[in-house]
Structures are given as structure tokens and as C-alpha cells.
Symmetry: C2
Subunit: 194 residues, 2 copies
């Protein structure tokens, strides 16, 4: 049994919460250290610096999303239902309390430099998501799953971004309509019975 440091967990937990709700550049490590009830020295024993803490924050969120998506997909009855389950997990996120948009898109807005580790972490997670969605459309019988997958991701990005700027329910409605339209259009053209 690997003993996971208690202080490290508190550190990463508060970092996740504070970075997500308030932004990254806006909050200093003093805030995180104080709210995690940890001293500065402890932070720098577990992380080389703020940058590494930010990357760890994003990777913890990425792990969470991967778990959620895996669960949603594997517990779906059909390929089409898998996509609907993914859509539902997105609408659930958007309508949940304290929703502040996509952690990765927000991070990318703060770290525009493509070479920066934080930006790279964002790109890595987005690549995983894109290929995962493409696999779903491939399972749906589409020979060329990229176009509908990109369409789905575009709707998802728009919904996640606008979800904390306008009425979340309306955004969710528009999103699920779009996804249903995408599924209908696909079956109407590529025509392989579900």
C-alpha cells in the first residue's frame, strides 16, 4: 500500500477548486497554501513550483473526466446511446453548481504559448477526447467518423464555454438538439440502421 501524502492531497484539492473557480494567474500560492492549511515548504517539497501544481491540477481533472466518460460509454446500450450518454454527462456538468466552463479551455486562455507545459496538457487532453468521440462515431458504423466527431466536439466546446455566460438550461437544450440533429443527419445519410 502506497501511502499518499495527506498534505499533498489537500494541496491538490484546494488548487483544483481555487484554480477552477477563480482562474490561475489570479490566485497566488499564498492563497492555496493558506486554504490547504499547509506551509510553503510543504508545497515546494511536493511540487517544483506553481507551474507543476497547475499541470497536476489539470491532469487530475483530466483523470476525472476520463473516468466519467469511460463509465458513461461502457454503461450505454448502443453506440448511439454512448454518444447520448457523453452528451448527458456534459449537460450534467454545465447545470451543476459552481460550473465555470471547461477547465482546459480556461487554462488555454491563460496560457496561449503552445510550448508551455500547461498549454500542452490542455492539448493532450483534447486529443484524447477527440479520438474518443471519433471512436464512438466509428462504432456507430461511420466509415469516416472524423467529420461528425469534430462537429460533436465543436458543439461541446461551445456549450461548455457559453454554459457559464448565459442560461445553462438554454445552452443544454441547444446542445442536445444539436447532438440529436447530428445523430439523425448521420443515420439519414450514411444509412446504416441502428
Amino acid at each position: 500500500m502506497v501511502k499518499v501524502s495527506e498534505a499533498r492531497l489537500r494541496l491538490l484539492g484546494t488548487a483544483t477548486r481555487v484554480f477552477y473557480t477563480e482562474g490561475i494567474h489570479s490566485v497566488g500560492i499564498d492563497r492555496i497554501v493558506a486554504e490547504a492549511q499547509v506551509t510553503r515548504a510543504t508545497l515546494y517539497r511536493h511540487f517544483t513550483g506553481k507551474e507543476e501544481l497547475v499541470v497536476a491540477y489539470l491532469e487530475s481533472v483530466a483523470q476525472l473526466e476520463r473516468d466519467q466518460l469511460d463509465h458513461a460509454i461502457t454503461s450505454a446500450a448502443s453506440p448511439a446511446d454512448s454518444i447520448r450518454a457523453v452528451a448527458r454527462s456534459i449537460t450534467t456538468a454545465i447545470t451543476s453548481d459552481g460550473f465555470r466552463g471547461c477547465a482546459f479551455l480556461n487554462a488555454a486562455a491563460e496560457y496561449p504559448d503552445p510550448d508551455h507545459p500547461v498549454h500542452q496538457a490542455v492539448l493532450a487532453h483534447r486529443n484524447w477526447f477527440a479520438t474518443t468521440i471519433a471512436t464512438l462515431f466509428s462504432d456507430l458504423g461511420d466509415a469516416n467518423p472524423q467529420p461528425p466527431a469534430r462537429h460533436f466536439v465543436m458543439l461541446r466546446d461551445g456549450a461548455m464555454t457559453a454554459g457559464c455566460l448565459t442560461n445553462p438550461e438554454e445552452v443544454c437544450n441547444t446542445f442536445v438538439r444539436g447532438v440529436e440533429g447530428l445523430l439523425n443527419y448521420r443515420t439519414a445519410t450514411t444509412a446504416k440502421p441502428a
Copy 2:
């Protein structure tokens, strides 16, 4: 003739460029003052502080977008072409050099507090955009223009956000396909000949 301060123009110009390409919290006023070849005192003579400069930056971009959109709309032959023209202005932006996403979405990511003036400036511009698009779909003959308008905005947000994270051409392709699909679906159901 109202003499517009030369220094103020330089200030706002460099602020626009630097804030857009590097983010807002990341750059201090020293950078802006230095690149604008202006002293600190001059900055604080024209703006009460950094916050006001940020708002001025966003409003200058908003003015630019309004002009572009007005021109695109008025020079279109039909209501449907107006929407296509708007879509084209978006793809043009995405594929242009130095594209870093939507200035407003990026700003919102850095200012999550809904009461903050910067956040409010973002919301104001987004409201204008939403109503403008809704008017276009209304002109297209749709009795209930909100759903397709929201769909359009969602695609736009997704495209603008992803346009600087993945291949811009692919994003544009997906976006115009989505818009065309939206127009087709609309005419196929609401059924008023163009």
C-alpha cells in the same frame, strides 16, 4: 474636430495587441507602457487603472466586430447569404495570422466574477451578437429564431475556441458544414422558400 490623443491611441493599440496575444493577467502595465513608448503618468491620465484599460481594449474589439458584421450583413444579397457572410467573417478570423481565439471568451476565462466590469463587457458584447444573429434568422422567415440562433452561436463559440488549439482549416470546415446543415435543416422544416 476633436483631437484624439496620440499617446492614447498608442496605448490602446499596444494594449489590444498584447492583451489579445498573451492574456491579460500575464502582462503588467510596465510592458504596455514600454511598448507604447509612453510613461506611466500618461497611462493614468487617460485611464483610471489597468481595469479600465482592459475594458477599453474589449470595447475597441467589440466596435471592430460590430463594424465587420454590419458590413458583411448589409452587403449580402439574401438573409441566408447574410448568415453565410457572418460565417465567412468568422472563418476569416480563425485562419488569420496571430489568431488566438475570441478575445471575449478569453477575457471571461480570466475574469470569472460575473459582477466584474470586464466580465460584464463580455456579456454585453455577447448579448449584442446573440440578438444580431437572432434577427438574421428572423429575417430568414423563422417565427421562432432563437433556437437556430443559439445553435449558430454555439457553433461559433466552439469554432473560435478550438481554432487556436487545433488545425484552423479543419475547424473552419466543420464550422461551415454545421452552418450549412443548420440552414438546410431550417428550410426543410420551417419551409419558407428563400
